[in-house]
Symmetry: C2
Subunit: 135 residues, 2 copies
DNA sequence: CTTGACCCCGTAGTAGCGTACAGGGTTTAT
DNA sequence: ATAAACCCTGTACGCTACTACGGGGTCAAG
């Protein structure tokens, strides 16, 4: 008794490559809309939802949090907004990424220096790595 | 009625630049040892604890988790170990950092391409950034 | 018609790293 | 002597993004 176009939550999950629980979680958190239900209470999804979930996954891979993704989706729904709002957010995210890279490079530099100074056979009391932490 | 060498938890916290609650948390999580107590129940710290907390902060800044820091501290206590164990951990951490940097660079590249393609004045429906997510 | 796969809901747990009370007792400075 | 500042315990909360569980109802195949 399933109408032709619609998908169950399990089918959506499989197609989108996420767990069923994840979809219900997104619904609870208002990241996706509540779908209509069958008589039985089963959720009935428009296949478009799969694209929405792909969007979410992709944006996550690019470093956006769910909160930020909600904002991106909201922008998109509002026809008054232009590209500019999205661009601004993407640029802010770029700056954030740049900062993270710089932080990691600083860590890397120190750890490299300190492992280079380390002669593995020395006793632990002379370990330059631990001494570097000890300051 | 305080013996001269020892510090209260608040003094330790101030000197180490962490919160009092953080120190109690570390104690609960067995990251630092339980100190002796006064009659009143107050913790009495050896000033060495401040160094230990600096060690923890420093290692955190270099990307080590508390769990990993516990391991480093354990290594140090064991007089049989040599520098080698520490060096191995530092090198593993270096690899991890390198991987994170590469991941972030990939995100950066895609976001840069896509924001470059974006002409801010276009309507949202044509936004190349959102279309990049839409795949 | 039964069986097994699927779905419902609500609640709770996970990990990492703390932070924030509430409801007390203690120390120290004035 | 009293008040401010500090300390104690225990519990709960905050964040992110899920994941799991229990106790049910529903659906499709054989």
């Amino acid at each position: 008794m399933k109408s032709k176009g619609s998908l169950t939550i399990g089918q959506v999950a499989k197609q989108a490559g996420v767990g069923v629980e994840t979809i219900r979680f997104y619904e609870r958190e208002r990241i996706i809309a509540e779908p209509p239900r069958r008589e039985s209470g089963y959720r009935e999804y428009d296949p478009e939802i799969v694209k929405r979930l792909h969007f979410i996954k992709r944006a996550q891979e690019l470093g956006f949090s769910l909160k930020e993704i909600v904002q991106l989706l909201a922008l998109r729904v509002d026809p008054r907004t232009s590209c500019a709002g999205v661009k601004k957010r993407a640029e802010a995210k770029l700056e954030e990424i740049e900062r993270k890279i710089q932080d990691l490079k600083r860590m890397q530099k120190i750890l490299k220096e300190v492992t280079a100074a380390c002669v593995a056979s020395k006793p632990i009391t002379d370990c330059p790595i631990l001494h570097c932490f000890d300051v």
